[in-house]
C-alpha cells in the first residue's frame, strides 16, 4: 500500500463519516447497510494496526488541518496513549458491529438505519479524540461524541428513554461547557497554548492556586470519566439498546472520559506539576470515594445493566486515580486498565444483551439456572467478571497490579486500601451472577422452556472478547510497551 501514514490517520476519522452517509443512502437494504458498517470497521481497524506498526517503527505521525480560531485548529498526533485507545476502540467497534447485527435483528429494533449512522459518527468522534494533538481538537470531538450518542441512548423513543437522554445530555453537555470549556480557555489564557506537550504546558512560573483550580475544573468538566457527583448520566444511559451500552458505555464514551483525564494530567499539567498541586490530593480522595461508593451501590442493583453501569463508574475511578497519582506505575496501570476494563466490561454487556434477547430477562434475580441453557454466554460472563475483579488468568490482573504499585510508590496507603476493598466488593457483586446461573441451588430456578443460546453473530462476538480477556493475561507485552512508552517521550519522564 502506498498511502502515507498521515493519510491513514485522517482516513480513520473521515471514513466512518463517509460510512454514515453510505448507511443513510442504503438504509432500505439492511444487508448492504450492515455490509458497509462491517467493511468500514474492518478497514478502520486495519488502518489503526498500520498506524500502530508505524508508531512502533519510530515514525512521527502528525497532521494539521485548518485553524478555527487564529492559533487554534484541528491538529492530530499519534502517541502511545492515544494508540491504546484507538486500537481498543476500533477493534471493539468491529466486534460490536458483528454483535449488533445479531442483536438488532433478533430484537426487531426500529430505526436501525439511524442507529448505524449515529454509531459510525460516534466512532469518528472517538478516533478524533484518540488522535487529537491539542486540547481544542479533543474538545470538539468530545462534544461531537456526546451529541452523536444522544440519539443512540434515546433509541427506544419511549418516555423512559427521553428521561434517560435528558440526564445523559444534561450532565455531559453542562459540565463540558461550564467546567471543561472554562478550564480550556483558562489554560489557553495562562499557558498560551493548548498543544499536548510532554511535561505539560505550564511553565515553572505558573501560580499553583490557579493551576489547582484549573485541575479541579478539568476533572469535574470531563464528566465522561464519571467522577462523583457527575456520574448520574451513566446509569441513566442504560436505557439504550445493549450494543450501544456495550460499546459506548464500556468503551467509547466512558473511555473517552478517562482517556481525556489521562491526557490532561500527562500532557497539559505534566506529572511533576501534578504532584505539587494542592488539589490533587482532594481529587484523589474524591476518585477513591467514587470507587468505593459506586461498588456499594452496584451491590444493591438487581437490574443487570444497572449493576454493570455502577461497576463501570467504580472502575473508571481506578483509571482517574492512576492518572492523578502522577507516578509512572499509576500512569501505566491507568492506561492499561483502559484496555483491560474495556474487554471485560464489553463482554459483560454483550452477555447482558444476549440474555435479554434469548431469555427476555433483565433482572439478576430471574437468572437462576440460566447457565444450563446459555452455557457459552455465562462462561464468558464468568471470565469477564474475573478480569474486572483482577485475578488471573485474565488481563485485569496486570492493570490492577500496576495501579496498586502506583499507590505504594506514592505512599497513598488509604487509596491502596480503597482499591483492595473495592476489588473484594466487585467479587461480591459480579461472581454470584454466573454462580447462580450454573448452580441455581434450592431457590426458584428460572422457567427454562423456550430459552436457547443467543443469535450466532452475538455469540461469536462474546467469545472473541472473552478470549481477549484471557489473551491479555498471557500476552500483555504490546499493551505494556505502549503504556510504558507514554512516559518515555522526551520530557515526560518523572525522574
Amino acid at each position: 500500500m502506498s498511502i502515507s501514514l498521515e493519510t491513514m490517520l485522517q482516513l480513520c476519522i473521515i471514513l466512518p463519516l463517509l460510512a454514515a452517509v453510505g448507511i443513510a443512502v442504503t438504509g432500505r437494504n439492511p444487508n448492504l447497510r450492515e455490509g458497509i458498517s462491517l467493511t468500514t470497521s474492518l478497514v478502520v481497524f486495519y488502518l489503526v494496526i498500520e498506524l500502530y506498526l508505524g508508531l512502533k517503527g519510530g515514525e512521527i505521525i502528525a497532521v494539521q488541518w485548518w485553524e478555527i480560531i487564529p492559533g487554534l485548529g484541528f491538529s492530530f498526533t499519534i502517541e502511545p496513549l492515544g494508540m491504546i485507545f484507538a486500537l481498543i476502540a476500533s477493534f471493539l467497534w468491529l466486534i460490536t458491529t458483528v454483535y449488533s447485527i445479531g442483536y438488532m435483528r433478533a430484537h426487531n429494533e426500529k430505526n436501525q438505519t439511524r442507529f448505524y449512522i449515529c454509531f459510525a459518527i460516534a466512532i469518528s468522534g472517538v478516533m478524533g479524540i484518540a488522535f487529537s494533538g491539542n486540547l481544542f481538537t479533543l474538545f470538539i470531538f468530545y462534544e461531537a461524541l456526546t451529541l452523536s450518542t444522544y440519539p443512540l441512548v434515546t433509541h427506544a423513543g419511549t418516555e423512559k428513554a427521553k428521561k434517560g437522554g435528558r440526564v445523559y445530555l444534561g450532565i455531559l453537555l453542562s459540565t463540558s461547557i461550564a467546567f471543561f470549556l472554562l478550564a480550556i480557555i483558562a489554560t489557553w489564557f495562562v499557558a498560551g497554548t493548548l498543544e499536548f506537550t510532554p511535561g505539560g504546558v505550564f511553565d515553572a512560573s505558573v501560580n499553583t492556586t490557579v493551576a489547582a483550580i484549573i485541575l479541579v475544573l478539568f476533572v469535574f468538566g470531563i464528566s465522561k470519566a464519571a467522577i462523583m457527583p457527575f456520574h448520574r448520566w451513566l446509569p441513566a444511559a442504560m436505557v439504550a439498546p445493549t450494543p450501544v451500552s456495550a460499546l459506548l458505555h464500556a468503551v467509547a464514551v466512558v473511555k473517552a472520559g478517562v482517556f481525556t483525564v489521562l491526557k490532561v494530567c500527562i500532557f497539559i499539567f505534566g506529572i511533576d506539576l501534578l504532584q505539587e498541586l494542592p488539589s490533587t490530593q482532594f481529587l484523589l480522595y474524591l476518585a477513591g470515594a467514587t470507587v468505593l461508593l459506586a461498588s456499594l451501590v452496584a451491590m444493591r442493583q438487581d437490574n443487570l445493566k444497572a449493576r454493570l453501569a455502577y461497576s463501570t463508574v467504580s472502575q473508571l475511578g481506578y483509571i482517574t486515580i492512576g492518572a492523578l497519582l502522577a507516578s509512572s506505575a499509576g500512569i501505566i496501570g491507568g492506561s492499561m486498565h483502559i484496555a483491560m476494563h474495556a474487554f471485560g466490561k464489553i463482554t459483560l454487556f454483550f452477555c447482558a444483551g444476549a440474555i435479554l434477547v434469548a431469555a427476555h430477562k433483565s433482572n439478576i434475580s430471574d437468572m437462576r439456572g440460566i447457565g444450563r441453557q446459555m452455557p457459552i454466554t455465562m462462561a464468558a460472563f464468568f471470565i469477564a467478571s474475573l478480569s474486572i475483579i483482577g485475578v488471573p488468568p485474565t488481563g485485569g490482573t496486570w492493570s490492577k497490579w500496576f495501579l496498586l504499585m502506583g499507590t505504594l510508590e506514592t505512599a497513598q496507603w488509604g487509596l491502596m486500601v480503597v482499591l483492595m476493598i473495592s476489588s473484594l466488593l466487585s467479587i461480591a457483586y459480579l461472581l454470584p451472577i454466573p454462580y447462580r446461573a450454573f448452580f441455581p441451588g434450592k431457590g426458584q430456578a428460572v422457567d427454562q422452556a423456550g430459552i436457547k443460546e443467543a443469535p450466532t453473530a452475538s455469540l461469536i462476538a462474546i467469545c472473541i472478547t472473552a478470549t481477549g480477556c484471557l489473551i491479555l493475561f498471557v500476552y500483555p507485552q504490546p499493551l505494556y510497551e505502549l503504556a510504558a512508552a507514554i512516559l518515555e517521550i522526551p520530557g515526560t519522564a518523572h525522574e
Binding site: P70, T154, L173, I177, A178, L181, I185, F189
Partner: protein
C-alpha cells in the same frame, strides 16, 4: 460611480420602495425587492473592500463638506454592519414570497415589500450616516415601518404587539432626540466627527451628562436591554415570520451599533465609561438579562416567544462583552453580533417553515415534527446547538472570545456566569427537541409534509453559514477584530 456607493447603499432601497406600487403583482414585487436587496448586498461588499484597503470613506452630500453639509461616513464598523444587514435581508427575502402567501392577505403583500424596503433603508441609513440628526431620521424610518410590518401579522394580537412596540419605541426615539438636541445645544453641531472634537470642551457640564443619559436610555430601549425589553417578545411572536426573522437578525444589531458608535466615536470611551457608572451598570444588567430572559424562555409555550426571549438573553451577552471595555471584549461583541444574526435568522426562518405547514408555532403543535418535517427540524436543532455554543458552530466562537475577554480582564466570575447562561440555552432548546422527536404526532396532522424548497433552501443556507463561520472564522474574526481595533484607535 464607485465614489457614490456610500449614498447609493441607502438611496437604492429608498427609491425602490415607491416603485413597488407600479409593479402591482406581488410576485413581481418580490423579485424586484430581492434584486434591490441583492444589489445592496453587492454594494456593501464593495464598500467593505474599499474600507479595508483605503480606510474610512467620507461622502459629502451635494458636495457640501462637513460639518456644514451632511456626511456619510463608512468605517470598518459601519461596513461590517452594512454587510450583515444586506446579507441577512437578501437571504431572508429568498423565502419571503412563499412564507407571506400564507401569512399576509394578497392585497397587502405589496405593502409588505414597500414597508420592508423602508425599514431596510432606515437601518442602512443609521449605519452609514455621519450626522446625528440623520441617525434619528433614519431610526424613525426604520421603526415606523417596523411597527406597520409587525401589525401585518395574521394574529389579531399582532396589532396590540405593534402598538406596544410603537409606544415603547417612540419613547426610546424621543429620548434619543432629546439627547441629540442637548448635544446640539451645547456644541452647535450635528456632525459626529465635529461633535467628537467639541464635546470634550464641555464634557463636564450637566447638560452633556443629561444628553448622554437620555441617549443611552433611548438606545437601550431600542436594543431591548433588560429591563427595557418588554416590547420585544410580543412584537417578535405575532409579527409575520419573515418580519420576525428580519428584525431579529438586524434591528437589535443596529441599536447595538448606535450604542458603540456614540460611546466610542462621538463621546470618547474615557467619558462614556466614567461619566456614568456605565460599565458596572451594563455588566450587571447584561448578566441579569441573560439569566432572566433565558429562564423566561424555558417557560414559554410559543416557540417564537421562546426564541424572542433568547434574543434578549443574547443581547445581554453583547452588552457584557461591550462593558468589559477592552479591544477583546468589543471584538467579542461584534463577533456575536454577526453570529447571532446568523443563528436567529436561521431559527426564525425555520419557524416560518413550520408556520407555513402547521399554521402555528405553539410548542404543542411541534409534536412529532421530527418525523414529519425532518429537514426543518434538523435546521432548528442545528440553530439551537449554535445558540448553546457547541463547537463547530458560530455560537461556540462567540462564547470562546467572550469568555476569553472576561478572563483577560480578570473578570473570572463573569466568565463563569457567561458559561452558566448557556446551560439555560440547553434546557430551552431541548424542550423543543424532546417535543418534536419523542411525542407522537397529534391526531389529524397526518398530512403534514416537509416545507417547500423555497423555504428550506434559505433556511439551510443560513444553517450552512452557521456551520461554515463556526469552522472557518477568518472572515468574521478578522472583521470584528479590525473594527474593534479601529474604534480603540489601535493601528491594525
Amino acid at each position: 460611480m464607485l465614489a457614490h456607493l456610500p449614498v447609493l447603499q441607502v438611496l437604492l432601497p429608498l427609491m425602490a420602495a415607491p416603485l413597488c406600487l407600479f409593479l402591482r403583482r406581488p410576485y413581481l414585487v418580490w423579485i424586484f425587492t430581492l434584486i434591490v436587496s441583492g444589489l445592496a448586498f453587492l454594494i456593501s461588499i464593495s464598500l467593505l473592500q474599499q474600507v479595508m484597503v483605503s480606510g474610512t470613506l467620507v461622502y459629502e452630500m451635494g458636495g457640501w463638506s462637513g460639518p456644514w453639509g451632511i456626511e456619510y461616513r463608512i468605517d470598518k464598523l459601519s461596513a461590517f454592519l452594512l454587510l450583515i444587514i444586506t446579507a441577512m435581508s437578501t437571504v431572508i427575502l429568498l423565502a419571503a414570497q412563499t412564507s407571506i402567501q400564507k401569512e399576509i392577505p394578497e392585497n397587502r403583500q405589496i405593502y409588505f415589500y414597500i414597508l420592508y424596503l423602508f425599514s431596510f433603508t432606515g437601518m442602512l441609513g443609521i449605519v452609514s450616516t455621519g450626522d446625528v440628526f440623520n441617525v434619528f431620521v433614519f431610526l424613525e424610518i426604520s421603526s415606523l415601518s417596523a411597527y406597520a410590518l409587525i401589525a401585518l401579522g395574521k394574529d389579531r394580537r399582532a396589532l396590540w404587539a405593534a402598538y406596544q412596540y410603537l409606544i415603547m419605541g417612540t419613547i426610546g426615539a424621543t429620548f434619543i432626540l432629546i439627547g441629540i438636541g442637548l448635544m446640539y445645544q451645547m456644541t452647535g453641531t450635528l456632525n459626529m466627527d465635529d461633535l467628537a472634537r467639541r464635546l470634550p470642551e464641555v464634557a463636564q457640564t450637566r447638560t452633556v451628562f443629561a444628553a448622554f443619559a437620555f441617549f443611552i436610555v433611548g438606545v437601550c430601549l431600542k436594543l431591548a436591554l433588560f429591563p427595557l425589553h418588554l416590547w420585544l417578545p410580543n412584537a417578535y411572536a405575532y409579527a409575520p415570520s419573515i418580519v420576525t426573522a428580519f428584525l431579529a437578525a438586524t434591528a437589535t444589531k443596529v441599536a447595538v451599533y448606535l450604542l458603540i458608535r456614540f460611546t466610542f466615536s462621538v463621546f470618547d470611551l474615557s467619558f462614556s465609561f466614567t461619566a456614568l457608572p456605565l460599565q458596572t451598570l451594563f455588566v450587571i444588567l447584561g448578566l441579569i438579562g441573560i439569566f432572566v430572559a433565558s429562564t423566561a424562555a424555558i417557560y414559554q409555550k410559543n416557540v417564537k416567544h421562546l426564541f424572542a426571549y433568547s434574543s434578549i438573553a443574547q443581547v445581554g451577552y453583547m452588552i457584557v462583552g461591550y462593558s468589559i471595555g477592552t479591544t477583546m471584549g468589543l471584538m467579542a461583541t461584534l463577533l456575536h453580533l454577526f453570529n447571532h444574526a446568523l443563528m436567529k435568522s436561521a431559527l426564525f426562518l425555520a419557524l416560518g417553515a413550520v408556520m407555513y405547514r402547521i399554521g402555528s408555532v405553539q410548542l404543542s403543535s411541534f409534536h412529532g415534527l421530527g418525523r414529519q418535517m425532518p429537514f426543518t427540524m434538523a435546521a432548528i436543532v442545528a440553530g439551537g446547538l449554535s445558540l448553546i455554543g457547541v463547537p463547530l458552530t458560530v455560537g461556540f466562537v462567540s462564547k470562546w472570545y467572550l469568555v476569553l475577554a472576561a478572563i483577560e480582564n480578570g473578570w473570572w466570575p463573569v466568565a463563569v456566569l457567561i458559561l452558566l447562561g448557556s446551560l439555560l440555552a440547553i434546557i430551552y432548546v431541548w424542550r423543543i427537541v424532546e417535543v418534536a422527536y419523542f411525542k407522537e404526532p397529534v391526531a389529524g396532522t397526518d398530512g403534514v409534509r416537509e416545507a417547500p424548497m423555497a423555504l428550506l433552501m434559505p433556511v439551510w443556507l443560513l444553517v450552512g453559514a452557521n456551520i461554515y463561520f463556526g469552522v472557518d472564522t477568518r472572515f468574521s474574526v478578522d472583521m470584528a477584530q479590525a473594527a474593534a481595533r479601529s474604534l480603540f484607535g489601535v493601528s491594525p
